[in-house]
């Protein structure tokens, strides 16, 4: 059988959120190795299990449905892949599904996040309104070519909902993702906390979670 590309979706939470992107690659390669699945190795002098993450997840952010691409060289069912890999994954990482990839990586356009902030609910809600209704939201961003640069993220931050929750608020939002323009969730959470600080609202980030990855046309990345 020729090699077949497979895309699995996995969850990354609890202590696994402290695994960096680079370390995740090794972690998953080893999990695949332990699983005994018939995976495809890259060619060359030092063959490695082929793996690719269409969109990196930053350290500290939870992932609910993160894609990972791999390839197999023998016929195995999607269930076997899911179960095999799950039996070999460390705590906090769980495969939710496996399928043939539908979209190429370049189709990725957005990602959706859920963030929880603790503090006074009313004050926090007001802070979100204040934060987003400003003329511009300037943040410092690292650029590969120019080093640290100031950018306005206002046109890109799309707040989807603000709701109350235990000890604070839950904010869901959509940010651009992919090759063209990629904004980390931390760009939002940090600038929001900074804003809170400037208007003396006590706030603390409790959790940041990527809930989905979308194509540029708004459909789910599959």
């Amino acid at each position: 059988m020729d090699k077949k590309n497979i895309r699995v979706f996995f969850e990354k939470k609890d202590r696994a959120i402290y695994i960096s992107h680079l370390d995740l690659l090794r972690t998953m390669q080893r999990a695949l190795k332990r699983s005994g699945l018939p995976v495809w190795y890259s060619e060359g002098f030092n063959p490695r299990i082929y793996l690719n993450f269409p969109l990196a997840l930053s350290l500290g952010t939870e992932g609910v449905r993160e894609p990972m691409d791999m390839a197999i060289v023998e016929d195995v069912s999607f269930e076997e892949i899911t179960e095999g890999l799950n039996s070999a994954c460390p705590e906090g990482i769980r495969i939710v599904s496996a399928a043939y990839p539908v979209h190429p990586n370049k189709d990725i356009g957005f990602a959706e996040y859920e963030t929880l902030f603790s503090g006074n609910t009313e004050a926090l809600k007001a802070a979100v309104s204040g934060y987003i209704s400003r003329e511009s939201i300037k943040v410092m961003k690292h650029s590969k070519k120019k080093g640290m640069i100031e950018v306005d993220i206002k046109p890109h931050v799309n707040i989807l909902s603000v709701s109350e929750c235990e000890n604070g608020i839950k904010v869901t939002l959509r940010l651009p993702a992919g090759n063209e323009l990629n904004l980390n969730c931390a760009v939002f959470t940090e600038s929001f906390l900074e804003y809170c600080n400037s208007c003396e609202v006590v706030a603390e980030l409790c959790c940041a979670k990527r809930t989905n990855i979308l194509c540029a046309d708004g459909t789910s990345f599959e």
């Binding site: 696994a16 402290y18 370390d23 080893r30 190795k33 063959p47 490695r48 460390p90």
Partner: protein, 617 residues
């Protein structure tokens, strides 16, 4: 109340490589606290990246956890960024498996692999919320123990540690913990009573049960037990049958990259060579091997349970395994099929023949390292590094023919009897290797020759024939380093690097130190010294101050020659080798006479008699 885990997690995103501080790695052992009788905090007094690479820790971790009602956890020295946050937020040092403070454990055990981690031991005890001084800790505090190669001279650590485990730990650790469990259950336990009974176990040294007296000139007069039932000499433990000893079937697999991130099988213990500077070569005697079958089985089990892509066959001298070729053939048969890289550290230059070379290069091409240790044959004879120039050249030729264009050579500077000729000999050797390369018709094409010379400073160590030797002075080290640089000038393919010799001086003092150095170590730690083995962290000035504060003369320890009949600080510990053998070897060294390897002829070190087993046959 906020639990410890929450407190830790709040800080993790502020530090480098946070996955080191939160546990949850694959194969880490988590137990139900309510069903556990003895809790053991296995501490490696250095960073996670270093400690997690250490094989001894993996063995004892799995061994102890094999008992259902014992729980052994891992603890490492937090790097300075996290330590600062821990102190600021009142987070005590905790075990990575339970995230519970180790202050509440039954045992805190340190493995002491090198002298330069001593201040980290104090720092970890302090971070745990314990007094660093054993005498100041109270009844309910854990029993603090230490083992590992450095405790062959544990004297500088006596102020801080309740008891030392001398020699190989697999059996004695179990006996010690069993005694503890028994005494706790029967209600006989008091720390004092436990220590006294532990001192009766072979291989356990309880320093508080010995008195040291000194001569007027500062040397030791004698070391005597304070009461009956305490042995005059503590004899190290060894495992008689290495082929049957416990070996873990799985390793904890870290998320972040560590120094040696791979599966490791220990293939043999001890060494048949008698390099006169090498402490490991003597304290791990006698030579014992695992059989090829055992090695291959252990390797397979580990690769399967970890998913590692690299396997290392570790020992002091892997190529001395009597069945090495067969073993490699079987091993590569497995690893190639599984696409696992096979790493063979500790290959002897004189065993580096074509056959081994082929086995190696089948798997991976990486740089080659050799350790001639000295630049001239005369000096190599003095240190008993039984390699001659022809062997070095032929190994290099094999390497070049095999497509390698780089060799890395390790040397030591300041060896006993060393002269300027020996230093220049290092440069000459490098040049002759270069000549060999340039004259070879079939040398690797398209690659530039590179000969790296890495120079360490000789450190005299206890339980070696050179234990009597002084270290050379700083000025002299400086002069010899410059001499080597001058003699390699203009050769662009030669690249010389040095270890920080200011670290070596401290290493010598701590290695040969006595109980009085405890005050110096404590003072240095109070002055902020930690991670002394890390170049960027080492603070020589603070150590100098610590010696001055305590009115201790570092030269007395590092730069003074010891008499053969002088009482050494470690003489009440018995590593099964007769002191008369070390004296004999020291005299032979001075005469430039070599001693054969144990496989060729027994030179009567005494370990066969002491261990009650013949070394070979």
């Amino acid at each position: 109340m906020e639990n410890l885990r929450e407190k830790i997690e709040k800080l993790l995103l502020k530090v480098k490589s946070p996955s080191r501080y939160i546990g949850g790695e694959l194969n880490s052992v988590v137990k139900d606290k309510s069903k556990v009788d003895v809790r053991f905090a296995f501490c490696f007094p250095d960073a996670y990246d270093v400690g997690m690479s250490h094989i001894g820790m993996k063995i004892l971790y799995s061994l102890k956890n094999a008992r259902e009602n014992w729980w052994c956890e891992r603890v490492f020295a937090p790097w300075t960024d996290f330590e600062e946050l821990m102190r600021e937020n009142h987070i005590p040092l905790y075990g990575l498996e339970s995230l519970d403070p180790i202050k509440d454990f039954d045992f805190i055990g340190f493995t002491v692999q090198y002298e330069l981690c001593y201040t980290n031991i104090l720092n970890m005890l302090d971070l745990a919320g314990l007094n660093v001084l054993a005498a100041e800790r109270n009844e309910n505090d854990p029993v603090v123990i230490a083992g590992g190669p450095c405790v062959c001279n544990p004297e500088p650590l006596c102020d801080f540690i309740d008891l030392f485990v001398i020699g190989e730990g697999e059996e004695v650790n179990i006996e010690l913990m069993e005694l503890y469990e028994e005494m706790k259950k029967s209600g006989e336990y008091t720390k004092k009573a436990f220590l006294l009974r532990a001192a009766g176990i072979k291989g356990i040294y309880v320093p508080s049960l010995y008195n040291v007296s000194y001569l007027e000139d500062g040397r030791i007069e004698k070391v005597v037990p304070v009461c009956d039932g305490v042995p005059e000499k503590v004899t190290k433990r060894i495992i008689k049958d290495l082929d049957k000893v416990f070996y873990p079937e799985s390793f904890v697999v870290p998320f972040s990259e560590i120094v040696h991130d791979r599966a490791v099988v220990e293939v043999l213990r001890g060494c048949i060579r008698g390099c006169r500077f090498c402490q490991a070569g003597f304290i791990y005697r006698p030579f014992r091997e695992k059989s090829t079958g055992t090695i291959v089985n252990e390797a397979k089990a580990l690769c399967e349970s970890t998913g590692y892509e690299e396997l290392s066959l570790a020992s002091l001298s892997t190529s001395d395994h009597s069945d090495i070729e067969e073993m490699l053939t079987e091993m590569t048969g497995y690893t190639e099929g599984e696409r696992v890289n096979l790493a063979l550290p500790s290959m002897r230059i004189d065993r580096f023949n074509k056959n081994l070379m082929e086995q190696l290069s089948k798997v991976r091409k990486s740089g080659l390292t050799f350790a001639p240790e000295a630049g001239t044959q005369r000096l190599r004879d003095v240190i008993n590094k039984n390699i001659d120039e022809e062997e070095i050249m032929s190994a290099c030729r094999t390497a070049f023919e095999g497509g390698y264009a780089g060799v890395k050579l390790y040397f030591m500077m300041g060896l006993p009897t060393e002269t300027d000729e020996d230093i220049m000999g290092i440069a000459d050797l490098a040049k002759r290797i270069a000549d060999l390369y340039f004259n070879m018709k079939n040398r690797p094409r398209g690659q530039k020759l590179s000969i790296s010379i890495s120079c360490a400073t000789f450190v005299p160590k206890p339980f070696t024939p050179f234990q009597f030797e002084p270290q050379i002075s700083i000025d002299e080290i400086n002069r010899r380093q410059k001499l080597l640089l001058d003699s390699t000038k203009g050769k662009r393919y030669i690249n010389v690097s040095y270890h920080n010799f200011r670290i070596s001086i401290l290493e010598a003092a701590l290695a040969k130190g006595d109980r009085r150095l405890g005050a110096v170590i404590k003072r240095a730690w109070e002055r902020g010294c930690k991670f002394d083995g890390w170049d960027e962290m080492y603070r020589y000035d603070q150590w100098v101050n610590a010696f001055a504060d305590t009115e201790t003369d570092i030269d007395f320890y590092s730069h003074r020659a010891m008499e053969y009949d002088e009482v050494a600080p470690w003489d009440h510990l018995d590593y099964m080798i007769d002191k008369s053998f070390f004296v004999r070897e020291n005299k032979k060294a001075k005469e430039g006479k070599v001693t054969k390897s144990c496989r060729e002829a027994c030179s009567g070190c005494g370990v066969n008699k002491a261990s009650g087993r013949e070394c070979f046959g």
